[in-house]
Subunit: 139 residues, 2 copies
């Protein structure tokens, strides 16, 4: 079995929150939006439909759970869920809480302006909150 | 049970291909991209995670099947799958075949330029092909 390694761009742009359903759950380091990224830990995947039926079921249930929880946590009026991968080919699913006054509303977030990184303190507090509130595998 | 009605913007922008898994399957009338839209026929839904577990399973399996089939039919190097709904609140899922030379590549398609409608002949031929090739409910 091939060893999974996270794409260098995803590794550079995110922090690991934890694991669930055979995936790494990442926090995008962009304070403009509460933005999770779910990455199935299988090398070579590019498309959501390439997951076998069992993994697809697990990953989509994780998406449902995370989208529900992130909307509750943030009280966001809208969630955006997407698997694009035009620039970073490794399969990854975006789960983003949107607000009517955020930097890209009502457009999509990708390619809009520059990321605004969290401060170290903000990021550590947010990661701790997410690890506590989201339904992750035990560390 | 409330009567489902398709959002007027979706009705204006698309043609009905057929039905599967409790959804309407629509063709976006934009010849720049092979672009399907799946709309669960339940009034009042805004988020993917609002589907109950049974409907969520059916809808996500339909997404998997349609994404696989559309990529095969179009030989597209990349698929984009997304539930956004920032402008049109009725829950709808985009399944889009992307090419490296399409009008928005490598960005997302939403909000880029103006749709280029199919001619009536093109549209009828494409709808017939999709009805034949996709795994839809019997009409």
């Amino acid at each position: 079995m091939a060893v999974f390694s996270l794409h260098t761009q995803l590794a550079a742009d995110t922090s690991l929150i934890g694991r669930l359903s055979g995936c790494q759950l990442l926090l995008m380091n962009d304070a403009r939006y509460p933005w999770l990224i779910l990455v199935p830990e299988q090398d070579g995947l590019r498309e959501l439909h390439e997951l076998n039926d069992k993994a697809f079921h697990a990953v989509t249930l994780a998406i449902k759970s995370l989208s529900t929880s992130l909307q509750t946590l943030t009280a966001a009026p809208k969630m955006n869920v997407a698997a694009l991968g035009n620039l970073v080919p490794q399969l990854h699913i975006h789960i983003i809480a949107r607000r009517h006054d955020d930097a890209a509303w009502p457009g999509p977030v990708w390619g809009v302006g520059a990321a605004e990184p969290y401060s170290d303190d903000e990021r550590l507090v947010l990661l701790a909150t997410l690890r506590e509130q989201l339904d992750l595998d035990a560390a």
